[in-house]
Subunit: 208 residues, 2 copies
DNA sequence: ACTTTTGTTAACCATTTGGTTAAACTATAT
DNA sequence: ATATAGTTTAACCAAATGGTTAACAAAAGT
């Protein structure tokens, strides 16, 4: 009795709402998003939003969780793998740039809303367990330093460098695009290049 | 008759409004800021906001312009100077980190609002002249590459690396602080270290 | 067939929010 | 002292916005 039957033309309304909410929240943020905008975008009545999702807060949380799960767990799977250090640089750059190419607002959105209420989102949404955890990665750097294969560098700074070089261009995309006078296509191409540029740059910087 | 006389306790009301507006806008953004919050923060009546500044949009624009002018023109003065390339890396890191230490929300705020309406803010507020212009810096990199003093690297990627490593930790500060389990003081200390770490990292990466 | 459950809407409601008004207060000039 | 111009406030207003209601439509269960 919970089975769903849809008319041919319109797909599942709940999914259409989610897609619309995602689009609106991701571009305008929680505070800037209007429930009416989401309803319009989904092509349905505003009341239906509240039928499927209690209120704006709940709808937002659903979207945020959905998106944050794309953004963070990937860090763990890369950083905690058994891959050699240098491969991790490349995997991180490649996989994150791929994700952000499909979803350019993602880092802005996630950072933005964490900024709004750091404790709520970092802790209360995920359990404290599946938070991004770079400790194995940091230890691995330490080990390589001690082995003498790479120069002495603080693991934390190296991590910040990797994150910054990979993620920043997407966060600042509107600024960069205007300033460097490049178009959408050139931006995409530049980001593709960075999949190789970033690991190369890092390795050049730290290899003895 | 336009002279101002203030009672001892309260300073110029206009300035108090600006300070309050700055604080509220910088932490909540345009959409999240409430005029009442600003009035409360300034300790004055809401109507006074409209007495000094026509409306929310105008007040916001005043603040944004004020802040953006701290953020951008510095780029030009560094990038267009006659300093040698390696010094520019250090000057950029040092001066920007100093600015952001005093004003940690600045990059988030600026990027955020440019994101909201790229054309309005990047073009219509400044004339097209005093926009950040890294062309001399990019040419300088090109020249060093051709001289053979540094490795072959795309100037654009190098610039993005510098910007990302310098600015990103501040944009993502709430995330970083929670994730690396560091407190405010340790964050500050880490950023101080980065003034040297970043130029060192870059030079290690590109010096032949 | 008809009852019940689920999905959807138009109209409405309450609160929030940006903005206005008119009156009061303060300092200065005459 | 009194008029004047500039400053500040309490009270108010209209629009925007999140959310509710009641009626209706479509499916599913019997």
């Amino acid at each position: 009795m919970v089975k769903k039957k849809q008319t041919a033309k319109d797909l599942n309304a709940e999914e259409m709402i989610l897609a619309a909410a995602r689009k609106v929240f991701m571009t305008k943020g929680m505070a800037g998003a209007r429930m009416q905008d989401i309803a319009d975008e989904a092509g349905i009545n505003k009341a239906l939003l509240h039928y499927y999702f209690k209120d704006k807060e709940k709808l937002f949380e659903t979207i945020f969780l959905q998106e944050a799960k794309k953004f963070f767990p990937k860090i763990n799977s890369i950083f905690n793998s058994d891959d050699p250090l240098f491969e991790k640089f490349e995997r991180f750059a490649t996989e994150y740039i791929d994700e952000m190419q499909q979803n350019p607002y993602l880092p802005w959105f996630v950072i933005n809303e964490i900024n709004r209420d750091p404790d709520q989102f970092m802790y209360s949404i995920w359990g404290s367990n599946n938070l991004p955890n770079p400790s194995k990665f940091l230890a691995q750097i330490e080990k390589e330093v001690k082995k003498g294969t790479i120069k002495r560098i603080s693991p934390m700074h190296l991590l910040m460098n990797l994150l910054g070089m990979t993620i920043f261009p997407f966060v600042a995309k509107p600024m960069i695009v205007r300033n460097m006078q490049i178009d959408e296509l050139q931006f995409r191409a530049a980001m593709e290049q960075r999949k190789k540029e970033i690991p190369k740059f890092i390795i050049d910087a730290i290899l003895k």
